[in-house]
Amino acid sequence: MTVPALDPLIEFIRSTRMSQIFRDEVGWLWPLCESLHFLGLSLLIGAAGFFDLRLLGFMKGVPLRSAKRFVPWAMVGFAVNLLTGLIFFISQPQQYATNLAMWLKVLFLLVAGINAMLFETSYSDRLMALAPDAETPVSAKVIGAVSLAAWFAVLYFGRMLPYLDPNPRSGV
């Protein structure tokens, strides 16, 4: 996509010392961050996926409270990816700022985040009180399904970054 309104922002970010250091002075930074990004996503999808599967009704007999103990690990994975993602963005903003795949990735990040917040504020307490063998209610299944779908969508659009919206301006 071309979004001329973003050009000044892109130029500004690229002109910062931090951007320049990441880009030109730390040669191994990109492969390192990519590796961490892949590890982070595996941790995130594994841990969040586990809880989502429980919400969907799999692994009956496992108390939801226990299953939820994996969620902080998903947060660790997310934190690693947020940090490495910021490094990618700061070093090469033009590759992402006008990239449709990036916008869609962010959209699904928001979906996953809002879904998680909704769960936390409106459903969590109720669900934690459920007996381990009880069937999970529809609301839980929906939240679990949305979460799984959203995180896989984030993965999908992330991997499609170089391919979905190749843009000569972005150099991707």
Binding site: G61, S66, K68, F70, F152, L164
Partner: protein, 158 residues
């Protein structure tokens, strides 16, 4: 070597490598990432639980995990083969690629051993988490981390 050259020139390899459709290379590559997330994610969750740092989920929850690991593995074996054909000549002698494959097979071996030690019964007792199991869980984490990094470095090392 002639085999790999031939493989690279097959219509299938050409389709994967060069076809403008998003369903060719981009989708195959993305599915490879999906498979990785499933396999590594599942194993990491199991390892964390066995090490006692992933909470207290009853071990019975992990009894059917092999289905996920197997699904992810099949996805990645298939997409991996497809990706291999596009650059067979080079990948057939690429050191870091062989490191990756070795680490994957080692990690799967560790996984099989862990299943044997812990998940022999339908409701594994907590006592089945011995010192050996914990050591293997750590080793598993190291191996999967190594395999993931080796995979990424394939794009950078000759």
């Amino acid at each position: 070597m002639a085999f790999f050259t031939w493989l690279q020139d097959t219509p299938f390899a050409h389709w994967v490598a060069s076809d403008p459709s998003l369903l060719a290379y981009p989708t195959i590559l993305t599915l490879h990432t999906v498979g990785m997330a499933i396999v590594v994610g599942t194993c990491v969750v199991m390892d964390l639980r066995l090490l006692g740092i992933g909470g207290d989920v009853p071990l019975i929850a992990l009894v059917r995990a092999p289905r996920l690991v197997w699904t992810g593995f099949v996805i990645n074996a298939a997409t991996g083969l497809a990706l291999f054909t596009t650059d067979a000549e080079h990948k057939a002698t690429q050191k870091v690629f062989f490191v990756k494959l070795s680490l994957i097979f080692l990690a799967l071996g560790v996984y099989a051993r862990l299943r044997k030690l812990v998940f022999r019964t339908a409701t594994p007792p907590a006592a089945s988490i011995s010192g050996e199991v914990k050591a293997l869980a750590v080793f598993s984490l190291v191996l999967w981390t190594g395999a993931t990094v080796a995979g990424r470095l394939m794009a950078y090392l000759l």
